[in-house]
């Protein structure tokens, strides 16, 4: 008797579970159902106010994001997603912190291959061609058209959009973006008899300044290398007039006389002029060296600005990178991508989220919290940004430099091309190869890596 009743309980439980599953399934598969009067009556008032037909349908989004600068940014992101749910009660965003840019790329790609991609993710802007080759992302042009098309895009800085677009389509929306800037220690400038209001403006000036600033225990200048050799090479290439690759990501132009001149200048700074440490300087220790006063100037991402501002015990300045033919810096950082093999309704919701995260006010706050450049021009018109930059004008340098900025190295087979450039830059800096030979070798290897895409 007892076992009989037990069985009955189980049976009932099973039925209930099945029924509720069936319910959920029919809910999500019947989009028009939500527009029926009964359904919208059950929706909350604020959702109804947005006037969206699907507004009361529950949607869960998974959002992958990396962090590559200091500070408690996980909390900031979580707060932003909660804010979003407050405005859109039917959409819940689950933020998943996925480590560095590289880790995030690995996790995302693993998801894509197992047909369980995230719904929306922040990935390096240079992942564009890899994601396209894997058929992982959707173009955003239809969504952008809803918002006003060209006029919506025109609020974003063109230099940031350069890494988002190919073949006339826009695939990602800029989010945490940077350029490289020159940080310099004003106290050391004074000690060396240099005017702290006048950072070096040209390659020649930088060399002269660095010579004056170099003495026992202090380097004049440090340029990080490990992992970012290609990025720093781009600064010299752009200052000499041209970027390293074509917009369609199928060709690289590495062994041009201009680039050889740039790499020669860079290696000379350590080998001949002795104003910079020799060999491959570490990306992470360069800011520490600067904060410790071991180097008077450094090339680094503006994403580190808030970190330097908080920790520098001396007066420091930020300026454009010195020019040769022109000023120049590549952009860097992460964009929002929306994934392909997911429910179209989720894509719609993901777009709403992307739009929300890049609204002017929010972009302004994000820039203040991190040091990244706000991606929209209108963000600099907001009250909070005006107030912040009035007392801390250094925050405007990277933005102003955007006029001379260009896309970060991004090609098909990007990982391999980037590594090739990194390896050869390091070979030149450590003296294994002459700059001209190193770039020639890089060109050959990159051409081989790109051959399959040029058929």
């Amino acid at each position: 008797m007892r076992s009989m009743s037990k069985k009955l309980v189980y049976l009932t439980l099973c039925c209930l579970t099945l029924a509720s599953c069936g319910q959920a399934a029919s809910d999500s598969s019947s989009a028009p159902a939500s527009s029926s009067p009964a359904a919208s009556a059950s929706g909350s008032a604020s959702a109804a106010a947005t006037g969206d037909a699907n507004a009361d349908e529950k949607i869960d989004l998974t959002f992958y994001y990396p962090i590559s600068v200091g500070g408690p940014l996980t909390a900031t992101i979580e707060q932003m997603t909660q804010e979003f749910t407050k405005q859109n009660p039917n959409i819940t965003v689950k933020p998943v912190y996925t480590g560095s840019y590289a880790d995030t790329a690995v996790k995302t790609q693993a998801g894509v291959q197992s047909k369980t991609p995230p719904d929306v993710a922040v990935l390096q802007s240079t992942e564009l061609f890899s994601l396209l080759d894997m058929n992982a992302i959707v173009p955003l042009d239809d969504f952008i058209a809803q918002e006003g098309g060209a006029s919506y895009l025109s609020d974003f800085y063109p230099a940031f959009l350069a890494n988002s677009q190919t073949d006339g389509k826009t695939y990602s929306i800029p989010f945490q973006r940077s350029t490289i800037v020159l940080y310099y220690n004003k106290d050391k400038f004074k000690e060396a008899g240099l005017d702290p209001a006048k950072p070096p403006k040209t390659w020649q000036e930088m060399k002269d300044y660095a010579k004056k600033l170099t003495h026992d225990g202090t380097w004049g200048l440090e340029i990080p290398v490990t992992g970012f050799g290609y990025w720093m090479l781009q600064t010299f290439a752009l200052q000499n007039g041209n970027n390293l690759m074509t917009q369609d990501g199928k060709k690289v132009m590495l062994d041009t006389p201009e680039n050889v001149e740039g790499l020669q200048y860079w290696t000379d700074l350590s080998k001949t002029d002795k104003v910079m440490p020799e060999g491959a300087t570490d990306w992470g220790t360069v800011p520490s060296d600067f904060l410790e006063g071991k180097t008077a100037m450094m090339y680094h991402t503006t994403g580190n600005l808030t970190n330097v501002k908080k920790n520098a015990k001396f007066d420091f300045g930020v300026s454009f990178l010195p020019a040769n033919k022109t000023y120049g810096s590549p952009t860097g950082g992460g964009n929002f991508y929306i994934f392909k093999d997911i429910d179209p309704k989720k894509q719609e919701a993901a777009w709403k989220f992307v739009k929300f995260m890049t609204e002017s006010e929010r972009a302004a706050q994000w820039s203040i919290d991190t040091g990244y450049v706000a991606v929209k021009k209108s963000a600099y018109e907001t009250e909070r940004m005006k107030q912040y930059t009035a007392e801390f004008p250094a925050a405007l340098v990277a933005r102003d430099q955007l006029e001379y900025a260009s896309a970060e190295l991004s090609t098909h087979n990007n990982g391999k091309v980037m590594k090739t450039v990194n390896d050869q830059v390091q070979a030149a800096l450590t003296g294994t190869l002459k700059p001209a030979d190193a770039l020639k070798k890089a060109q050959e290897e990159a051409d081989r890596a790109l051959a399959a895409f040029n058929k």
Partner: protein
């Protein structure tokens, strides 16, 4: 009756076998299969290419460099860490005052996480204010960018690896030493044998089973290093510190070239099997089991 025992035995083994198949044999089979395909960003569907991936490896200058690096790295770390472990074990095996503290100090590198260890060493090797730079400049030598020069980076990694590994192997030797019968030492002592001879003729041979085990583990570890490279050098400068597993990681997860990454994995497994077999069958004749 006999088959019943057999079935019972298999049933007991079943859970482990399931996991072994699921997480070891199946992935190995899958990897071997994938290594015969071109599966990269340029091909939307994997394309059967036979042994092409392997042939391409012979042409890949980075692969050859990484392989040579790895052999040097193994040669630099394995004997050194084993010798150091043995010396440390003999030293801490004696009952003296404060021995617990010394043992803890020797063992401590093993307990801290790899990433933390890598960060500590990153700053030891930092030019200008790193511990090592301070030391050499205090001695009047000139400062170096230890991790940034292709000539020193491998040595820097070898020293760190020996530091990290020796304490771990010490534990095995300590266990081995506790198993050696004190009678042997007593009779040797009575006969007036010198301490060096005691070590050479009694301790060392009786530790051989431990040495065999430790040697295989050490060799495998020298091929397994990846975390430190990620934190400290990213394989640079110009691949001077890149090792096989790191190259596999790069090929798989930054070049997205799964075919070649699989081929590399197969090569690595083959190499490890070969080396372990050589050690096992070569050394086994010299091992005294009690």
């Amino acid at each position: 009756m006999r088959w019943k025992t057999n079935v019972f035995a298999w049933l007991l083994l079943l859970p482990s076998l399931v996991f072994l198949f699921l997480f070891t044999f199946y992935p190995i089979a899958k990897t071997i299969r994938l290594s015969l395909y071109q599966a990269d960003l340029a091909t939307s569907k994997p394309l059967f290419v036979g042994v092409d991936n392997y042939v391409r490896l012979l042409d890949d200058s980075i692969f050859l460099k990484v392989l040579t690096n790895n052999l040097w790295f193994a040669l630099g770390t394995v004997p050194a860490s084993i010798a150091l472990a043995m010396v440390m074990a003999v030293f801490v095996n004696k009952a003296t005052r404060g021995i617990g503290l010394v043992r803890a100090a020797f063992f401590y590198p093993t307990v801290i996480p790899m990433i933390a260890a890598a960060n500590i060493w990153l700053f030891i090797y930092t030019p200008e204010y790193g511990l090592l730079s301070r030391a050499v400049t205090a001695l009047g030598a000139s400062d170096m960018n230890w991790l940034g020069s292709p000539h020193t980076v491998m040595w820097a990694l070898i020293v760190m690896m020996v530091w990290k590994e020796a304490g771990y192997f010490m534990i095995f030797y300590l266990a081995g030493l506790q198993n050696v019968s004190p009678d042997l030492y007593e009779s040797a002592y009575v006969d007036g044998v010198s301490r060096w001879t005691i070590f050479r003729k009694i301790t060392f041979p009786l530790l051989m089973p431990t040495t065999l085990f430790v040697a295989i583990v050490a060799l495998t570890n020298s091929f397994k290093l990846v975390d430190h490279l990620m934190v400290m050098t990213k394989g640079g400068p110009d691949n001077a510190s890149s090792l096989l597993l790191y190259y596999i990681y790069e090929t798989a997860f930054s070049f997205w070239d799964q075919g070649v990454a699989s081929a590399l994995t197969v090569v690595m497994i083959g190499l490890l099997l070969l080396l372990s077999a050589l050690q096992f069958f070569g050394l086994d004749k010299k091992v005294h089991y009690q």
